[in-house]
C-alpha cells in the first residue's frame, strides 16, 4: 500500500500512511551504527554496560522514537518553525557567551534548570532550517550571485563567530562548512565558489598564526609533525594511529584492544571511539561501519533529491552535509589526517547532545521523505 500522488486527497495525511512512508532501510542503518557504538562502549568500559554502553543504547532508543515522531510532522510546520528555531539558537549562543559554564577552558554549556544545553547544537539544526527557508523563497538567479546572498552569509556568520569565540573551533568549522555547502547546493555561482576557495587558502596561514588560541595552533602544528612531540600534543594522534594500525585486518578481538583497554587511547569513549573499533575489529570492522555511514549519507541525499519542495531538498541536504562533515572530520582526525578537533563520530561516540542533534536532523530528513509531495508555500513568511 504505497502512498503516491494518485492517492485520494487526505490519504497521505493519515498518520498510518505517513508511518508507512518512513524509510525503514535508512532506520536500520542508523540502528546498526548506534548498535556498533554500544558494542564498542561496552568494550572500552572493560566489558561493562556502565558507564557508557547502557546510557548510549537508552539514549539512542529515546532519540529514535523522537526521530519517528518528528518524521510525521508536516514540512509546513518545519518551515514555519525555521526562523524561530534559528532565533532561539542565536539567543542561546549569546546567552552562553554571557553566563555559560566554563569547561576545559571553553564556554559551551548553558544550564537551564535541570537541562544542560549546548546551544551550538541547536544552531546546527537552526541554521539548516533557516537557510532552507530563505532559499525556498529566493528566485534561482538571485541564488547564484546577488546582494541578497548577504542574508545567508549573515545567517551563517553570526553563529560561526559566536561559536568560535567560545572557543569551539571544531563546531565553528562544522557550522560554517554546512552553511557553505547549502549555499552551493542552492545554486551559488561556481565562479564565486572557486574564488571563495582561493580566498580561504590564502587566508588560512595568517589565520592560524594570528587569530587562533595557543592550544588550537599547537594542535594544528602538531598535526603537521606529530612525531615531534610524541608524549605531548602529538600523543593523541600517535596513540590513535597505533590503535588503528595494530588492529590489522581482523582486529585484536572484542575487548582485547590494549590501546583502549589500558587507556593509551585518549577520549576513547568519545572522539576516538572509531580507533577502538579499528583496534578490536580491524580493517573488516572499520570498512563495515564506513559502509553503513556511506549508506546513510547516500540514502539521505537521495531523500533530498526526491523532495518536491525546495525547502525539503535543502533541509535534507543540509542535515546530510552536517552528518557527512562529522564523519569526515572525525575519521580524518582519528586516522591522523586532520588536526585534533573535538568532533565526535556521530551515533558511534558516547555523548547525548550530538546524538540528539543528529537524530533530530534525521527526523527532519525523514519528514522530508514522508512529506516529499507536500507543497510548501513560497510566500515570504506566510503560514501554510
Amino acid at each position: 500500500m504505497t502512498a503516491s500522488a494518485l492517492t485520494r486527497p487526505g490519504e497521505r495525511d493519515r498518520p498510518i500512511s505517513k508511518f508507512l512512508e518512513i524509510d525503514w532501510t535508512f532506520c536500520l542503518a542508523l540502528c546498526l551504527i548506534a548498535g556498533a557504538g554500544g558494542l564498542m562502549l561496552f568494550s572500552v568500559a572493560g566489558g561493562s554496560w556502565t558507564p557508557w554502553a547502557a546510557p548510549h543504547v537508552l539514549r539512542f532508543s529515546a532519540c529514535f522514537v523522537l526521530t519517528i515522531v518528528l518524521a510525521m510532522i508536516s514540512l509546513r510546520v518545519w518551515f514555519v518553525a525555521a526562523y524561530p528555531v534559528y532565533a532561539i539558537g542565536l539567543a542561546l549562543l549569546v546567552a552562553v557567551e554571557v553566563v555559560g559554564d566554563i569547561s576545559l577552558g571553553a564556554q559551551r554549556w548553558l544550564q537551564l534548570g535541570p537541562v544542560r544545553l549546548q546551544p551550538s547544537e541547536i544552531m546546527k539544526i537552526g541554521l539548516v532550517l533557516a537557510l532552507a527557508r530563505f532559499y525556498h523563497g529566493l528566485p534561482p538567479h538571485k541564488a547564484q550571485f546577488s546582494w541578497r546572498l548577504l542574508i545567508p552569509l549573515g545567517l551563517i556568520g553570526l553563529p560561526v563567530l559566536l561559536v568560535a569565540h567560545q572557543p569551539d573551533l571544531g563546531t565553528a568549522v562544522l557550522i560554517a562548512s554546512t552553511g557553505a555547502a547549502m549555499m552551493v547546493l542552492a545554486g551559488l555561482s561556481l565562479r564565486v565558489v572557486g574564488a571563495a576557495i582561493v580566498a580561504a587558502l590564502v587566508a588560512i596561514p595568517p589565520f592560524v598564526l594570528f587569530v587562533l588560541h595557543d592550544y588550537q595552533r599547537k594542535r594544528i602544528l602538531t598535526f603537521l609533525d606529530p612525531e615531534s612531540d610524541p608524549s605531548g600534543s602529538g600523543y593523541h594522534i600517535l596513540q590513535s594511529k597505533i590503535a588503528l594500525g595494530s588492529g590489522g585486518l581482523m582486529g585484536r578481538g572484542f575487548g582485547l584492544g590494549s590501546q583502549s583497554q589500558l587507556n593509551f587511547l585518549p577520549e576513547k569513549q568519545t572522539d576516538f571511539i572509531f580507533a577502538t573499533l579499528a583496534e578490536e575489529f580491524g580493517f573488516v570492522g572499520c570498512i563495515s561501519v564506513l559502509f553503513l555511514y556511506a549508506a546513510v549519507i547516500f540514502m539521505a541525499l537521495r531523500i533530498a533529491s526526491i523532495s518536491h519542495s525546495h525547502f525539503g531538498r535543502l533541509a535534507a541536504a543540509g542535515v546530510t552535509a552536517t552528518f557527512t562533515l562529522y564523519v569526515m572530520i572525525n575519521g580524518a582526525m582519528v586516522m591522523g589526517l586532520a588536526p585534533v578537533v573535538g568532533v565526535p563520530m556521530p551515533l558511534l561516540s558516547y555523548g547525548g547532545t550530538v546524538m540528539l542533534t543528529v537524530m533530530i536532523g534525521f527526523g527532519l530528513v525523514m519528514a522530508v521523505r514522508v512529506h516529499r509531495y507536500d507543497e510548501v508555500t513560497s510566500g515570504r513568511g506566510a503560514l501554510l
Binding site: 534561482p140 594511529k241 595494530s246 555511514y293 547516500f298 531538498r313 586516522m335
Partner: protein
C-alpha cells in the same frame, strides 16, 4: 490544494541545479569516504606490523630490578659496606598529572618541609616523562603503608622497597672504601650513548671514591627486570612472571684490611690530622690505612647538604683528603735508614765515627743538628737520629746513590693497590733535578749543600704514608721488595700477593745493621723514642724510627718547639716501626701533620697502640706473649696465700 510547484519553470530550473549540485556533493562524500578507507587500508594492512610493535611497547613495561650491590668485607669477613632495606616514595611525572596537587597530597601523608615541597615540584616537573623522582627515602613502616594505601588514587605515585648502602664503621674506612652517591650528569655522559638503564633508577648510587669507584662495575652487578602489563598511567595491570629477568647481585670485594686495627688506628688519631698505614711484612697485605680526620661516608650516600659539604671542605685539617695516599710529606728522619742502606752499599764502614758538635759548617753556613751527640757510628747515629752523621754521609755518597736506595725501598713509586689517587712524591737525583728545572739552567746542577738536607729526608724529598709503610715492611722483611696489597679478592678470585716480588738489592748484613739501629731507637733507654715505644708485651718488642719534618726554616726562629705556634706552622711528626723485632710481622708508618717536634712524641705512641692490636690479634705472637710463667710446683706454695699476691710480686722486680 495548490498547484504542485513542479510546474513552475523557475522552480524546475532550481531543482535541476540542486540535483546537479547534490550529485557533486555525493561525489565529494564518496571521494572522502574512499580516502578514509584507503587510509585505513594503509594503516591496518600495510603498516600493521609496525603499529603492532608500538602497541606492544605501550602495553608491556619492563620494570628494572636494581641488583643488590656487592659487599665489601675486611680480611676476616667483617662487613665494611653492606646494604639495608629502604622504603622510598617515588613520583613519576605523566601526562595530565597535577604535580602540585599530588605533592601537596603526599605532604599530608609523609612529613615534607615547605622548602622540600617546592624543590620537589620543580624537580618532578623537570624530570623526563615517567622517570621516577625520589620524594622521600627511609620512610617508616607506617608512612610506607599509608602511602601504599593511597597510591591507587594518586597516579604516578609509588612506594617501594629499595636498598641503600650502609657503612657500619662510618668514617674509619671512608677514604679507602670511598662512598656511593647519586648518579650525576657527568657519570651519564661518561657512560656513553647507551648507558646501563640501572643508572637512571632513582635509588641507584654509583661508586665515587676508593674501592667503591675502582670496583664499581663488579660491585654493581647486573640489573634484572620484571615484565608487567601497564596502563597509560603507568599502573601495573598484570604481572607476567614468565618474562622476568633476574638481577645478578654484585660481586663481593674482600680487602686485606683488618677492621679492628683500622678502627683502633682512627681512634688513636684523635683530633690530629694525618695517616696511619700498617702492612704485614711477610705478605705485603695492608692491614690498616687510615686518614684522619675522616668523615661519615653514610652522609654522602644520602647526599650532603651544602652547609655539610662546606664544613668538610673548609676545615683546615682537610677531612676529604686521603692523607695516606695523596698527602705528601717530607720524610724527615724516617728517611735515615734508607740513607744508611745507601751508604752501606756505597762502601761506608758502619763502624767509622763522625763527630757531632751540634752542627756542621759546610759551604759557608752551619747546618745544625737537633742535639750534640759526640762521636757517632752508624748504629748510634740511627738510634740518636744524629743529623751531622747523615749530613756528612750524604755529601760523601752523593744524591744518586741515595735515590737508588730510596727507590729500591719503594719511594718515588706508585703501587698498584687497586684504588686510584696515589701521589708518588719526589726522590731527588741529579737526573731528576735536570729534568725538573728544565726552564732554569742555572739550577739544574746538583749543589753539594742540597745533599745535606737530602741526608735527613728534607729538601726535595716528598713521600706518602703508604711508601713509608712499604719501606719499613721491606726493611723488616729483609728479603723481598714487598708490594702492598689492598684487595684480597674480588668475587672469590684472589688477587696476586704482595710477596710475589723480586729480592731487595741489599745484603742481609746491611739490613741487619739498620734494623739494629731502629731496635735501639725503641728499646735502648737513650733511643729517641724509648719511652713511647714500650709495647708492654713482654719479650715482644718493637723497632722504630722517629722523624720530624719541618715546614718552615728555623734559621731565624728563636725556638722550634713553641706551644704557642699556630697549628699550620708546626712540624710534621712521623714514625715508622715494625714488630716483633726478632721475628718481624707488622710494619707501620704514622704521619701526624703538624704534630710538633720529635717523632717520639706524637707518632710513636700511636704506632705503639696500633701495633699492640695487630700483635695481640696474631695467635702466634699471642702464644709467645701469654706463655705461662715457669711457676714452682703446686706443693711449694704455702696454704692460705691468695693468688693475688703473685700479681703484686712484679713490683719488686728490677726495672
Amino acid at each position: 490544494m495548490a498547484e504542485p510547484s513542479i510546474f513552475f519553470s523557475e522552480v524546475n530550473e532550481r531543482q535541476g541545479v540542486f540535483h546537479r549540485r547534490a550529485f557533486l556533493m555525493g561525489g565529494l562524500a564518496g571521494i572522502g569516504l574512499t580516502a578514509l578507507a584507503g587510509r585505513l587500508a594503509y594503516l591496518q594492512l600495510v603498516q600493521a606490523q609496525r603499529y603492532q610493535k608500538l602497541a606492544a611497547g605501550n602495553q608491556f613495561n619492563f620494570q628494572l630490578v636494581p641488583p643488590p650491590r656487592g659487599l665489601i668485607l675486611d680480611r676476616n669477613g667483617v662487613s665494611l659496606a653492606s646494604n639495608r632495606p629502604n622504603f622510598r616514595l617515588l613520583v613519576a611525572r605523566d601526562r595530565g598529572m597535577d604535580i602540585d596537587k599530588t605533592v601537596d597530597e603526599l605532604a599530608q601523608l609523609v612529613p615534607l618541609g615547605p622548602d622540600h615541597i617546592e624543590r620537589l615540584k620543580k624537580d618532578i616537573k623537570r624530570a623526563p616523562l615517567k622517570q621516577p623522582v625520589s620524594v622521600m627515602e627511609d620512610m617508616t613502616w607506617e608512612e610506607f603503608s599509608r602511602v601504599n594505601i593511597r597510591a591507587p588514587e594518586l597516579p604516578g605515585v609509588t612506594a617501594d622497597m629499595g636498598e641503600v648502602r650502609v657503612y657500619p664503621f662510618g668514617g674509619a674506612f671512608a677514604h679507602v672504601i670511598g662512598y656511593v652517591a647519586k648518579v650525576s650528569d657527568r657519570d651519564l655522559a661518561a657512560a656513553g650513548p647507551n648507558p646501563d638503564p640501572v643508572l637512571l633508577n632513582p635509588g641507584f648510587r654509583i661508586g665515587r671514591q676508593g674501592v667503591e669507584r675502582a670496583f664499581d662495575s663488579p660491585l654493581r652487578g647486573r640489573a634484572g627486570a620484571t615484565k608487567a602489563e601497564v596502563d597509560a598511567a603507568g599502573r601495573v595491570v598484570k604481572m607476567d612472571p614468565g618474562g622476568d629477568i633476574p638481577a645478578t647481585a654484585g660481586k663481593e670485594v674482600r680487602l686485606t684490611l683488618d677492621a679492628d686495627i683500622q678502627n683502633r688506628a682512627l681512634e688513636v688519631m684523635g683530633n690530629e690530622s694525618g695517616a696511619i698505614v700498617m702492612m704485614d711484612c711477610r705478605t705485603g697485605d695492608v692491614l690498616c690505612m687510615v686518614s684522619a680526620p675522616s668523615f661519615d661516608a653514610n652522609r654522602f650516600v644520602r647526599g650532603l647538604t651544602t652547609p655539610e659539604y662546606k664544613a668538610l671542605a673548609e676545615y683546615e685539617r682537610r677531612p676529604l683528603l686521603d692523607k695516606a695516599l695523596t698527602g705528601l710529606f717530607p720524610a724527615g728522619s724516617t728517611f735515615k735508614p734508607t740513607v744508611a742502606l745507601a751508604a752501606l752499599s756505597a762502601g761506608v764502614d758502619p763502624a767509622a765515627h763522625v763527630v757531632c758538635n751540634g752542627g756542621w759548617y759546610f759551604g759557608g753556613r752551619t747546618f745544625r743538628c737537633w742535639g750534640r751527640h759526640g762521636a757517632q757510628d752508624m748504629h748510634n747515629a740511627i738510634k740518636n737520629s744524629c743529623d751531622v752523621y747523615f749530613y756528612q754521609t750524604a755529601v760523601r755518597i752523593g744524591p744518586d746513590k741515595i735515590a737508588a736506595a730510596a727507590e729500591a725501598m719503594g719511594f718515588n713509586h706508585e703501587f698498584d693497590i687497586g684504588i686510584s689517587g696515589q701521589k708518588k712524591g719526589t726522590i731527588p737525583s741529579t737526573a731528576w733535578k735536570k729534568a725538573y728545572f728544565k726552564s732554569n739552567p742555572a739550577n739544574q746542577k746538583w749543589f753539594p749543600g742540597e745533599s745535606l738536607s737530602y741526608g735527613i729526608g728534607q729538601g726535595y724529598v716528598q713521600v706518602n704514608a703508604l711508601q713509608l709503610a712499604v719501606m719499613t715492611a721491606r726493611l723488616a722483611n729483609g728479603r723481598k721488595a714487598l708490594n702492598p696489597r689492598l684487595i684480597k679478592s674480588v668475587g672469590g678470585v684472589d688477587q696476586p700477593r704482595g710477596d710475589a716480588a723480586p729480592d731487595l738489592p741489599f745484603p742481609h748484613e746491611h739490613l741487619e745493621i739498620v734494623r739494629a739501629g731502629m731496635a735501639a731507637v725503641a728499646n735502648d733507654a737513650s733511643g729517641t723514642a724509648y719511652r713511647q715505644s714500650q709495647l708492654g708485651l713482654g719479650e715482644v718488642k718493637m723497632a722504630g724510627k722517629t722523624g720530624t719534618a719541618q715546614v718552615r726554616s728555623y734559621d731565624n726562629a728563636a725556638s722550634r718547639n713553641s706551644a704557642s705556634v699556630q697549628w699550620k706552622l708546626k712540624d710534621h711528626n712521623l714514625f715508622v716501626a715494625f714488630a716483633p723485632v726478632d721475628d718481624p710481622r707488622y710494619a707501620v708508618s704514622v704521619i701526624i701533620e703538624h704534630g710538633g717536634l720529635g717523632g717520639g712524641t706524637a707518632g710513636a705512641p700511636r704506632a705503639r697502640e696500633v701495633m699492640r692490636v695487630a700483635l695481640l690479634k696474631d695467635p702466634e705472637v699471642r702464644a709467645r706473649i701469654e706463655q705461662p710463667l715457669p711457676l714452682p710446683e703446686i706443693g711449694d706454695i704455702a696454704e692460705g696465700v691468695a693468688p693475688n699476691d703473685a700479681v703484686a710480686a712484679p713490683s719488686g722486680l728490677p726495672t
